[in-house]
């Protein structure tokens, strides 16, 4: 056993390594998307690998696997995601990148009517080993010199409209470690899996990642911090906000437990219910807008199945029901932060301002 310190990777590097290792193992894996390599067809000028996606998660893959397996596409989400669906039905294992989740409007039929339903409506005769990777999220209140500030059509957290569709698995990694493991699990799954990758996890997600390939199971939430007094349930980047809030609450004597949901569908109700059965209080923290959201879905399930264990109403901390604003000051206000989570917890204990 190698006892040397495990090297640290960024979120994007971890996903890159996951795809690379799986592509070495399985020649039927192909990557499709806009600028997944970048600068397509310019190899004769000595120009390859110009871009590599918003998180650079596919950078460098073309130099190892070539343009036959790393396929830059025209701007045609409906077309190339449909090609991914057809290829998945006929012997390939495509990984399709939709650059930003905001663009699913351009290909939603392929997701909700085609990929999600094929296996069921065809009576189980066709597998659909398809991975859809897509970036989401605002820059929040973080002080950034580059990126973010992308406005209402490039900053959304549109996962509820994906989790709503039966047949799709929807995962939201939060760290480099679980990003690699969930991406590998998604690639090995024989059905469609959507991986939502937050654009601005930054240093929060950087961390130790084992060099070997491993999976993080789809469909399981994880308790990442043990506590007695309240359960903070976070999704993606919000998991970090929950952890920071828990740290702050500890200073005033409130011991919060943090659950990283990780998979939105199928949702791991058991882990959330088990946590609430010990803490008796729940705050769900979700970067998406609240109407018909994951936050309210989780709250409703706990109210339905865990009501007897609750000592206080369930609270949700979400973005407001508005489009994502552009101005940094408004975007920070829009995005759930530590202060709102702490305030929600205070309301459960009748303390605070």
């Amino acid at each position: 056993m190698n006892t040397a310190a495990v090297r640290e990777l960024s979120f994007g590097q971890a996903i890159n390594e996951a795809i690379r290792q799986e592509m070495r193992r399985d020649p039927t894996i192909v990557v499709l998307g806009e600028d997944v390599a970048g600068g397509a067809g310019r190899a004769h000028l000595g120009l390859v690998d110009a871009w590599g996606g918003p998180l650079r998660a596919t950078r460098g893959l073309i130099t190892e696997f070539g343009p036959e397996r790393i396929l830059d596409t025209p701007i045609a989400e409906m077309g190339f995601l449909g090609a991914g669906v057809g290829a998945a039905m006929s012997g390939l294992r495509p990984i399709v990148e939709i650059m930003f989740v905001d663009l699913i409007g351009c290909c939603y039929d392929q997701i909700m009517n085609q990929a999600a339903k094929m296996h069921y409506m065809m009576g189980g005769q066709v597998d659909l080993p398809l991975v859809i990777r897509t970036a989401y999220g605002t820059r929040g209140g973080d002080n950034r010199t580059y990126g973010g500030g992308a406005g209402a059509q490039h900053s959304q957290t549109l996962y509820a409209v994906l989790a709503h569709i039966p047949g799709l698995k929807v995962v939201v990694p939060s760290t480099a470690y679980n990003a690699k493991g969930l991406t590998i699990a998604a690639i090995r799954d024989n059905g469609p899996v959507i991986v939502l990758e937050h654009k601005f996890l930054g240093l929060r997600a950087k961390g130790p990642v084992p060099e070997e390939a491993y999976t993080v199971p789809i469909g399981r939430a994880q308790i990442i911090r043990k506590g007695r007094d309240v359960t903070l349930c976070g999704i993606g980047r919000m998991t970090h906000i929950c952890s920071e809030a828990a740290e702050s609450l500890l200073g005033e004597g409130i011991d919060a437990e943090v659950v990283d949901v990780l998979t939105l569908s199928p949702l791991d109700e058991d882990t959330i219910l088990e946590s609430v059965s010990r803490t008796h209080r729940l705050v769900v923290v979700d970067e998406d807008t609240p109407t018909a959201s994951m936050a309210r879905d989780i709250a409703a399930r706990v109210a339905d199945k865990g009501f007897d264990n609750l000592d206080a109403p369930i609270k949700t901390v979400t973005a407001p029901d508005t489009p994502v604003p552009f101005a940094a000051v408004l975007e920070a206000l829009y995005t759930p932060g530590v202060a709102q989570v702490v305030s929600a917890v205070h309301s459960l204990f009748g303390t605070g301002a």
Partner: protein, 327 residues
Amino acid sequence: MPTREQLLWMYERLTLIREFEERLKWLVETGVPVGAVHYYTGQEACAVGVCAALQPSDWIASTHRGHGHCIAKGVEVHRMMAELYGKSTGSNRGKGGSMHITDARVGMLGVNPIVGMGATHAVGAALSAKVRKTQQVAASFFGEGAAGIGAVHEAMNLAAIWKLPVLFVCENNGYAQSTPVEYALSVPHIADRAAAYSMPGVTVDGQDVMAVWEAAVAAVERARAGQGPSLIECITYRYYGHHQGDDTHRYRTKEEEEVARGRDCIRTFREHLLELGAAQQQELDAIDAVNRKKMDEAVAFAESSPLPKPADLFTDVYVADPDGERE
């Protein structure tokens, strides 16, 4: 020129499709609850001419009007009929119905009622063939109505830039539901659009199975040679309404329908075979009789098959995981 064996296969498939749809129409009109159906009657030469040029290992992607494509590619009629009856012995175990009939074993990637989407799936199958170096080709059937949808154009562009082995087969039956083609199309012929994607485009008589077959053979040769996609526009006519409840006389004239029926693809092909001396009258009558019997058996099979079990509601939502465990 097709072999005699191929000619007889074409006749057998043309008439089996006709028999299937006529039987289905009778069932619908006598109140058998087979769900929403879109009869293919009148267009049989399009499906049969194209599939006669394909190998069993090749793929097709279909439209909402897909029964003919299924039969031409080799889906068994008793499994199709059981599917329409919603029985567990159906092609899709009763989970799909008319608009989702699929049989991956014979390269039938799905009847698909979201107009134009099948074109993108055919492109994906062709990409699969190219990456895996299998020499398979994929044919995408779509109607002239689908020529207006973006997905079809995206599919054509992808197939062209990647030189994928795809046949884009447009069955121009003149009407998208009740909207006439001359209203909805910006060019005289859908085949004109091929130029925009640097692929050959031809318009053929879709009532002439030989003409469709010839165009398909050329397109398949080109596809297998790695030269990329082709577009074939088949001018055809659907005899009945858009779906089982549609009254065609609200948007087209009886005279127009009579002219179209005067060029029936089965009658003209039968006459052609007899003139050619490729078959005798009795031989063709015998094929007709076998098809009628096949449909009797298909209906009996569907009627006597078991319904899905309540537990089937929950099966196959997710694909079995790599450990072989089901949800």
